[in-house]
Symmetry: C2
Subunit: 484 residues, 2 copies
């Protein structure tokens, strides 16, 4: 921990299980390149949870990352019975590392079904929004809800980041994978923003692909992709799918990059059963350190390590996860072989050129989108009731007949059930009741919303409301299956 002022300080989190061995290997290899880095060791994970800290991340570690702005970390465990949230996710969210970057490339000696096809792609996954926010509410005793939230600002950050990352690696295209055909507001936001910003990167090809087709294509012809940008939950699945194309989690590095802070880590878990046995594959953390060096613009050191890893793998020095744990090269030998290969260059495998990554800077104001006009045109009230749709509909119409709103329809999980449509729909005790303002055009004041809720409360239980809004004349809500 020298603190020499010409050195960059990096927070080093050994983590749990096999983490310390992986992180130690990466640290020694980085040091062997002479990269001007000083390390500040910090704690997080299982031991911290067990001390009673429900986040798994102590304030000193938060302080260290806030100061150094860069962390290299091993996997963190959330021990069963301690804490509700993953410490890995906590770090990503608290430091607004909105871009999860996972390179997926074929490596020498690591044979898979796809060997020889030259897979070399990067998955860029939005890292702080979407279902991963984990905002859940039991709507009724038997119906659970999670909110999927996607913002224009968050989408613009991740879309621009993907193009900038492609530029920094001299790549040729960015594909955007969403489910915009089913979720036109949430998933559609990323698609629309992606298509809007793409012309700012004219040297890069760009196209949109439906996310399920993207999964299909990744299995069928992964070599067609260069950079893929996607939303958080879908990206979780696509990233893990992709890492399997090239040899699994032992070789899967990742970066979590925000505009202020970046955290580099392996994708794999803490694998406690292999810990301390000098048998594990530290490549994922080593390649994460390579990503970190490039982020710090230490391009020569990064390139030296990448070449040394490729030369090592080409020479057949492979860990137990690849060749079997009875025959694998010990972790420390693997590490030292890579150190010994620093300076050598592979002739057969590509190491990309890199240039500095430009992080997108957006308008910092919270109200990122400012419409010229807007109005509240109705209210969705989610009611819990054991009544039938017809009974509930009749009751709600009676209760609200003299308000400024009228009941337009009731739906069950997105399918209209009142007025009746002739469909066969299995209903639950969870009903979405849509009320629309009678005047047209209209703009509903809150007093009328409060009155409507008070009327419904006379006879029914409601647990959730959503205002129906219009922005610049466009409906800000979807219609239900069967709704006109």
């Amino acid at each position: 921990m020298s603190g020499r002022t010409d050195h960059t300080l990096v927070t080093l989190i050994p983590g749990d299980g096999i983490g310390p061995e992986c992180v130690d290997a990466a640290r020694r290899i980085v040091e062997a390149t002479g990269a001007p880095i000083d390390w500040e060791e910090a704690e997080a994970g299982a031991e911290v949870f067990k001390k009673g800290l429900p986040s798994g991340v102590p304030p000193e570690t938060m302080d260290s990352i806030t100061r150094t702005r860069v962390a290299l970390k091993g996997p963190l465990e959330t021990p069963v019975g301690f804490g509700e949230k993953s410490a890995n996710v906590t770090l990503r969210k608290l430091f607004e590392t909105y871009a999860n970057v996972r390179p997926v490339r074929e490596l020498p000696g690591v044979t898979t079904t796809y060997s020889g096809r030259g897979i070399d792609l990067v998955m860029v996954r939005e890292n702080v929004e979407d279902l991963y926010a984990g905002i859940e509410h039991m709507q009724t005793p038997g119906v659970a809800q999670c909110l999927k939230l996607i913002s224009v600002k968050g989408s613009e950050k991740i879309a621009r980041f993907a193009f900038e990352f492609a530029r920094s690696e001299y790549r040729s295209s960015v594909a955007c994978a969403t489910k915009a055909n089913i979720m036109k507001f949430t998933e559609g936001t990323l698609k629309r923003v992606f298509e809007r910003v793409a012309p700012d990167y004219p040297e890069l090809g760009s196209w949109h692909v439906i996310v399920d087709n993207c999964a299909h294509q990744l299995v069928k012809k992964p070599e067609q992709y260069d950079v893929i940008v996607t939303t958080n939950m879908n990206g979780d699945i696509l990233s893990d799918l992709s890492s399997a194309l090239v040899g699994g989690l032992g070789f899967a590095p990742s970066a979590n990059i925000g505009n202020e802070i970046a955290i580099f880590e392996a994708v794999h878990g803490s694998a406690p059963k292999y810990a301390g046995k000098d048998v594990i594959n530290p490549t994922a953390v080593i390649l994460s350190a390579v990503m970190m060096l490039r982020y710090l613009e230490m391009f020569e050191e990064a390139e030296a390590i990448e070449h040394a890893v490729l030369v090592t793998l080409e020479s057949g020095v492979l860990t137990g996860d690849v060749v079997g744990y009875d025959r694998g090269t010990p972790t420390t030998t693997y590490r030292d072989t890579i150190i010994g290969n620093l300076g050598k260059r592979t002739e057969n495998w590509i190491v990309r050129d890199h240039r500095p990554l430009q992080l997108p800077v957006l308008d910092a104001a919270p109200d990122y989108v400012r419409p010229a006009s807007r109005a509240v045109v109705g209210l969705d009230v989610f009611v819990e009731s054991p009544l039938s749709a017809a009974e509930l509909g009749a009751s709600l119409m009676e209760l609200t007949s003299d308000t400024r709103l009228s009941l337009k329809m009731i739906s069950s999980r997105g399918t209209k059930v009142f007025p009746p449509t002739g469909a066969i729909t299995d209903t639950l005790d969870h009903w979405r009741c849509r009320f629309i303002i009678k005047e047209n055009p209209g703009d509903l004041p809150d007093e009328d919303v409060h009155q409507l809720l008070a009327r419904i409360s006379r006879r029914h239980m409601w647990m959730h409301t959503e205002k129906l809004q219009e922005f610049e004349g466009e409906l800000g809500f979807t219609r239900d299956q069967g709704e006109n």
Copy 2:
């Protein structure tokens, strides 16, 4: 359209693009087996949309399916500019076909990266709940929301269906793939229900797998899976991933099965550019018809067609999608070859035995889960504001100081930002403000909810509320990142 009373009536929807050719091939092959089926042709899709019907499904088609209870259909198109919803999805939802079944098996002559590994799995995807309900609301001009709804009843239906389907095909195991580690209420519901019902099927192995790992494993070692059951959106991705393992959409049949009605269809689209050219691959619809025959317990006819398809493919008779459109067998020749091969049996490829599928029958009452005790303990109010978190927090505390609720925290997309945590969080104009009842234990009457909303309305815009409920002493809501 004979109407012989010993025959089963099936609604036949030719659909759009290549649909009529695929459906015609399947129909003629089924007829050639002598299966006791009469067909009732019905319309849906592009032409119906263009006539101005926004669902794409005319009442006569609804009536036909309601009467016959079984449909075989081609792909339906939603022409750009007509209708907001897919007619395929409309049919699934209006008839409560809650189980989407997609078998994925290796076929002779259809070479893929995975050939020779004996892939033979079935993806069972929940088909009517989840994000696919498409319930979206713009929360602010720049923040979109989609509701992910998962019910205990829906989960029990799909979990039991998966086990029953495995039984009907004499399979050995069912894996359940969810993201329960991040979404413990929604995704967790399927996991918990699956684990609760599994002991009712003691002859079947069962285990849970995190959905991203499932995607990884499907690429790495797909032969480990037999039946996989999963939620709707994740299942969409996993299904399309899986179909690529064995040769793509031309060979991917599917069934949408509910307790009253079943709809059999290919997974592929209408591919208009190949329509009418006698070049397309009708196998997916043919194999969908095989699934239909088994559903109708016409096991011998189903087996005869499955053998004939395998014999045809083994003999090298392959359509243009497999061998190139300049060299492919015409659709009609392919169809007639299969008809000619009826009665032949393959020696090299497995055709499974089948027994009747038992559909799970559950308590029909809408209030499927009835807790012994419950209470409302607070309210989440989602506020749109250009203020900072600190300013908004101070204002809300002042406004609500003499109510029965106190402001516990404010979060931005699931990460706590007030009281301040020291985290770096990029905030938007969308804030989730959590109010908790001051008494403990307490149960908040609606009057206090209305009063709180009225207080907030004095100075701020809110667009969404969620009651915070407890059921049998368990919290019915999640905590945020950084919340104690």
